[in-house]
């Protein structure tokens, strides 16, 4: 069995995120890191390998992003992936979700994985959709927000988190699964693994090498267009009742609640 894990480089949680008003894209300068949710995808792959029910020959980390995204791949390999693929090309800049999903699917076609794992969301874009887009291009079944996964002869039994509880779903492999962070506790990368990561194979691919049609990616190939970016409306400030005389304060609170038919 071969597992591909999609991983993304995102701004470090400590960095204040900023949108460039010029390009209307996220300003990605500053410290970047591996998307936290993707570490759960890699851990899930490792647990399948270590579970021993199926033989996992290879775990491949795949990313699309600029040169700096290699850091995310190194981190993914330190967590257990055997090698990595970096799709990087200027024509990809400005791709929206559909274009990103298409481009990633083209890389995956070349890898022919039995299972594609993703994080349920990225820390920056937070679209929650790449999994579905990739699955559509690959014509594979797709499940999202999976928090438990058992593998057995050619199929997966998954529990997916739903608003009302859990769905238990069986899917045939190959499949595209995006996992929630409740699925596992990612391991700690050891120093040995961290230092070994740079020695594992990393293929950098240009768009043309994996058969990506340039008209379908980048800003021009994206079907969404960001027209304007506005901050969310400011919340109305709450009403502060100063506590001078506690009896009076209580009356005021009670009156306020009654007015809104809350008590």
């Amino acid at each position: 069995m071969k597992i591909c894990c999609l991983v993304k480089e995102v701004p470090d949680a400590a960095v204040q995120k900023r949108i460039d008003p010029e390009t209307k894209r996220l300003d990605r300068s500053g410290e970047n890191t591996l998307n936290q949710f993707d570490t759960h995808g890699i851990e899930a792959a490792m647990q399948i390998r270590e579970g021993g029910v199926v033989d996992v020959e290879e775990i491949v980390a795949v990313t699309m992003g600029p040169g700096s995204a290699q850091r995310a791949l190194h981190k993914a390999v330190a967590l257990g992936a055997d090698r990595s693929v970096h799709l990087s090309d200027d024509v990809l800049a400005g791709s929206d979700v559909c274009a990103t999903g298409y481009a990633l699917a083209k890389v995956l076609e070349g890898e022919s994985p039995d299972l594609v794992l993703l994080g349920q969301q990225s820390d920056d874009g937070e679209c929650y959709t790449i999994g579905a887009v990739v699955a559509d291009h690959l014509r594979m079944p797709s499940l999202t927000q999976v928090i438990k996964m058992d593998v057995a002869d050619g199929k997966l039994t998954c529990e997916r988190q739903a608003e009302y509880g859990y769905d238990t779903v069986e899917v045939r492999l190959p499949a595209v699964i995006s996992v929630g962070d409740a699925i596992n506790e990612p391991r700690y990368p050891s120093l040995k693994a961290i230092m070994g990561a740079k020695k594992k194979p990393l293929d950098t691919k240009a768009a043309g090498e994996v058969g990506i049609e340039s008209g379908k990616v980048g800003e021009a190939g994206s079907r969404t267009q960001v027209l304007a970016i506005n901050p969310p409306p400011e919340k109305e400030p709450g009403e502060i009742i100063e506590d001078e005389d506690t009896n009076e304060t209580v009356e005021k609170i009670v009156a306020w609640l009654e007015e809104r038919k809350l008590i």
């Binding site: 470090d12 400590a14 960095v15 410290e31 850091r71 190194h74 050891s190 120093l191 230092m195």
Partner: protein
């Protein structure tokens, strides 16, 4: 004044690389999720659990700088430096830092540097695997700063030595499985007659006489040991006979630098905690951080942190490149230990009454920091080393 906001996040600079930052992240995550939530219990119990050594070993922390052939991670001194700094920066209490640090930073390095292949197998490999806990025994009731005046003696007998005497203030002393122990192998005093023997728990006459109570470092076990006719076999001699003083001096540089880095980590923690509190706590209708008096305290804490960090990293760069760094290490140790006490004290002050309460942790950091100007060579001794270095 215009407001310039600075997150303080910087790309790694030499000798640190991305790999070191990844290790730092691993240490931080471990401390935050497995140590910080538990450590108050350990402090009250006056001991962190034995299993912490197992867990640290499992994650590779006990063998960062040791070769893979001995079960280590194959890293180097800089990786160990990251470990020492980040344990404290991520909020591990001094007791945990001391217990794990005595094992990785002071007790096992002499075995690696001076030990035989056979000693590596018997002591270092199980220490890296967390199976045997190590301690370093130099200090005695009658000999601290004046190391050359130790009185624990080892008398030559058939097949080895007979050891008599005592050691005190030994970190991990209560539960150590073996003690890298300084003994006098020549009756005449002074530097020349000191050797190192590895004493093992269970040897007849080896006794833990007391578990000491302390101002801070509560979760670390500090022991007093007594030796009565302990027979130590030939193969437990570490390094050359009568050349133990060299071993002591070799290790002191590294120990002091690790202490400096630990203090830098603790100052970093104090600063972050204090800034957060100063932004949140309100008095007289505003956040206390907006009072200039508090803001300036924060500024001074940040300055001490930056100075201490710069000194420690500079010394680390020298040591790591194989150069002599006696003056730099000594100055870094001297500056950072005092600075950490002052910084922790200011952190308590900024927290007001809450700072005096256990719940807020800053009082513990202050108590823990107070060991710094005493342990690993006192401030006065550091000043002697520095001053004498000028030929005075």
């Amino acid at each position: 004044m215009s407001v310039i906001s600075d997150s303080g996040v910087r790309a790694p600079s030499p000798p640190f690389t991305d790999e070191h930052e990844d290790l730092r992240a691993t240490v931080r995550r471990w401390v935050e999720s497995e140590i910080v939530p538990e450590q108050d219990t350990w402090e009250r119990r006056r001991e962190f659990p034995r299993e912490l050594f197992d867990r640290a070993a499992e994650l590779g922390f006990l063998g960062l700088k040791y070769p893979e052939r001995l079960g280590g991670q194959g890293g180097d001194a800089v990786h160990d430096a990251v470990w020492a700094e980040e344990l404290a920066a991520a909020g591990a209490c001094g007791g945990v830092g001391a217990g794990l640090g005595a094992h990785t930073g002071i007790a096992t390095p002499p075995i690696f540097s001076f030990g035989t292949a056979e000693q590596h197998e018997r002591f270092l490999r199980p220490a890296i695997a967390g199976e045997r806990i190590a301690a370093l025994g130099i200090t005695e009731p009658g000999a601290g700063s004046d190391v050359a005046s130790i009185r624990t003696t080892a008398k030559r007998v058939d097949g080895g030595w007979l050891v008599n005497g005592s050691k005190t203030f030994i970190t991990n002393g209560v539960r150590a499985d073996f003690l890298v122990c300084a003994v006098r192998t020549r009756p005449e005093g002074g530097h020349a007659g000191i050797s190192f023997l590895i004493l093992e728990r269970g040897m007849e006459g080896y006794e833990v006489s007391r578990k000491l109570e302390k101002l801070g470092w509560h979760s670390s076990d500090t022991g007093e040991l007594a030796f009565t006719d302990v027979h130590v076999p030939e193969e437990n001699l570490l390094g050359a006979e009568n050349e133990g003083f060299k071993l002591i001096m070799a290790n002191f540089q590294w120990e002091r630098l690790l202490m400096a880095l630990g203090a830098v980590g603790a100052m970093d923690w104090c600063l972050r905690r204090s800034v957060a509190y100063a932004l949140e706590r309100r008095a007289f209708g505003r956040a206390i951080g907006s009072f200039q008096a508090i803001r300036h305290k924060i500024a001074e804490m940040a300055t001490k942190l930056e100075a201490g960090r710069a000194m420690s990293y500079a010394a680390l760069r020298l040591l790591d490149s194989g150069q002599d760094a006696l003056r730099e290490v000594t100055a870094a140790k001297l500056f950072t230990q005092r600075a950490a006490v002052e910084t922790a004290d200011e952190a308590v002050q900024i927290h007001g009454g809450y700072g005096y309460m256990r719940e807020y942790e800053v009082e513990r950091v202050l108590r823990d920091a107070r060991l710094g100007p005493i342990g690993g060579g006192t401030d006065e001794v550091m000043k002697e080393i520095l001053g004498r270095g000028f030929g005075l």
